[in-house]
């Protein structure tokens, strides 16, 4: 096995991981703040891909520019979704928390089917069709390395966005308020923070982030009503591995899963790569359920409750 191949596999894996990270940040934010798993997150991604597709199809708007429309649009969609559906589940029994978003995902998926049919839609951009060729680097013993432009753009924008978002959460007033709320709701309330407002904004930002992801993904993937489900399972793996609520964790875990997927596709066989990341998922739950960067105690009941005592 040549070193070129290893480098190529790593690069393909990291670029794929960038997409996973990008699409998972919103999910982890929503969970971190509101302790709710948004099972409809994949469907919001699907909607975002459709928005960019239709803007390209009808208005010939470049998908990367369509973000200018997606960002405010998905922020509003996020606010509305929170007000109509999610708000009622805060503090409700676990069953409602899970199945309201499951119901939402069923509704969105089938509305897409109803309005747009099961056709597979793609956007092909001529300026992206030729990949970037790096090398050959004869000094390092490497032949040409191939980098897909659309994936590279998604990766760079995704990572910069994650960093910007991290800084925002760390240093801005609003970011601090959101973090304070996610760490201790009661104290935040006592300090005069408007929890409902914080939740609204957090949820809307989570949806906005997936809106951006959709625009960045449409040049790479076909969109159809069931595409959300193909991504949402991976998003769950990424978010749990990274630690629910941790942005840094989502990025690192996204990249890790991307590389694992490409390597297992190559070495073990493409049929088993899904099984590999689900096994990673279960292993994380067994060994370190708080994930790589999660805050301890979110996920686990106290030790005494462990089985059999």
């Amino acid at each position: 096995m040549s070193s070129t191949l290893v480098v190529q596999l790593v690069i393909s894996g990291i670029l794929l991981g960038g997409i996973y990270a990008l699409s998972s940040i919103g999910l982890t934010l929503i969970f971190g703040v509101m302790k709710i798993v948004n099972f409809a997150h994949g469907e919001f991604l699907m909607l975002a891909m459709y928005v960019s597709f239709w803007l390209f199809h009808w208005a010939h708007l470049d998908p990367y520019l369509s973000m200018l429309i997606s960002v405010p649009l998905f922020f509003i969609i996020g606010i509305l979704t929170y007000k109509v559906f999610i708000k009622k589940t805060i503090g409700a029994p676990i069953l409602s928390q899970i199945f309201v978003t499951v119901g939402l995902s069923i509704i969105i998926e089938n509305l897409a089917l109803l309005f747009w049919s099961a056709d597979f839609r793609t956007v092909s951009l001529s300026y992206l069709s030729r990949p970037i060729i790096l090398g050959p680097f004869s000094g390092l013993g490497l032949e040409e390395i191939i980098v897909n432009k659309a994936r590279l753009i998604a990766f760079i924008l995704g990572i910069s966005l994650s960093i910007a978002f991290y800084l925002f959460m760390r240093f801005s007033y609003l970011g601090k308020v959101i973090r304070a709320t996610s760490q201790d709701r009661t104290t935040a309330l006592l300090m005069g923070i408007n929890i409902d407002r914080v939740y609204t904004i957090s949820f809307a930002m989570g949806i906005l982030l997936v809106g951006i992801a959709g625009a960045l993904m449409i040049p790479i993937y076909t969109v159809h009503p069931f595409v959300g489900f193909e991504f949402v399972l991976i998003m769950f793996v990424v978010v749990v591995l990274g630690g629910m609520g941790s942005i840094v964790g989502a990025v690192v875990a996204g990249l890790f899963i991307g590389v694992v997927e490409v390597f297992s596709g190559f070495f073990i066989g493409p049929e088993s790569k899904q099984a590999v990341y689900f096994l990673v998922f279960i292993a994380v739950l067994v060994l370190k359920p708080s994930g790589l960067f999660g805050e301890k105690g979110e996920e686990e009941l106290e030790r005494i409750e462990a089985i059999g005592e």
């Binding site: 049919s117 056709d119 069709s129 159809h224 596709g265 493409p270 049929e271």
Partner: protein
Amino acid sequence: MGKKQWAVIFSIAVMAVFFITGAGHAAGGTWRIGTIYPLTGPLSKNGVKNFDGVKIATQMINDAGGVLGKKVVLVSADAPNPQAAASEANRLITNEKVTCIIGTQASSLSLAATVVAEKNKVFYIETEGVSGLITARGFKYLFRTTFSSGMMSAQMVDYIAKVVAPKMGKKPYDLKIAVIHEDGGFGTAISKGLKARAEGLKLNIVSDLSYSAKATDLSGLVLKLKQVKPDIVLAVQYINDAILFHRQAKELRLKSIIMGTTAGQGNPDFVKALGKDADGVIAFGIPSEFSIKNLSSQPKTDAAEFVKRYKDSHNGAYPSPTSFVGFAGAWILYKFILPRAKSLDPEKLREAALSLDVPKGQGVLNWGIKFAGPGAKNAGQNLRASAGINQWQKGKLRLIWPKEVATADLIVKVK
């Protein structure tokens, strides 16, 4: 209980009553025939197109005065998954009282629906599901008008040995062939047929890989193929993964000739997504088009009429391959089986179907009609259906095999 709760209960109850009381039956004097296709869910993409072919065949026969003076009425059902296929077959048979069903497009749906039909002794025409298992069960009332996965796979492998290899200037057994397939029923069944035939001809299969059609990345697979440098990649895929595979194969410079199927690479969306890069890609399975001029007289008129009506009702689009086989299945029922049986009695339909012996080229399209009899390994299979091999050339999917109806010649560019 509050008002809201009552309102929810009430609306559910109203809906239930509305839908339960709504079922009705059409009047006599018509041929009532059931149809089962996936019209919703992930399989609906091809299901709807296949059903379109059946619908147009039905319009054509009715506009020509029906069968024996009676019009055909379709009672259609939606089967997004196997469980629904079985349940809808039950509904059509016991509630709608149909004794003849046309279906089902996808093999997994066919396997589920035909069990129900067979148990109830109902005549069943399978128009597209190609899995060998469908006819391997020795069912008495099941007839597949189209070719099986085994027939199309064999044709493809033979074509590689007889036509592609010489054109590449190689001996067939010098070619390195890789097989990749999605791990659903479709990919598994076809790839099995390809491998069996290739082994029979002592061809060199260097690699055999499967993956999920829901995959979000296939670069590992492409790089793995690149390691073995196959001359030909036989790719049994659906459209979604076919697009992903071709994009990544091109980018990572996989220099093999890729031969897919009409379910994936033959789909019109394929060329939309890949543009010029689709050129040269081969898709085997359903013939994409016919050189209608080479058909014998009656099939020629029928096919031309079908194409015209399809274009009229689809904004000028040429029928997709799956619509052609839908048409062919319904047409065989309307023009050959039903007029002989003179009744929708499954026993009579069955006898009529088994008695048919239409030579190749005289039936529908370039097909003949001769069903394998009971006791055969593939009972109910139309032995004279023929698959086709297509190639994208300048943005159009041209038929390159079988020779007599082909519209273009194979172009091989060794990259």
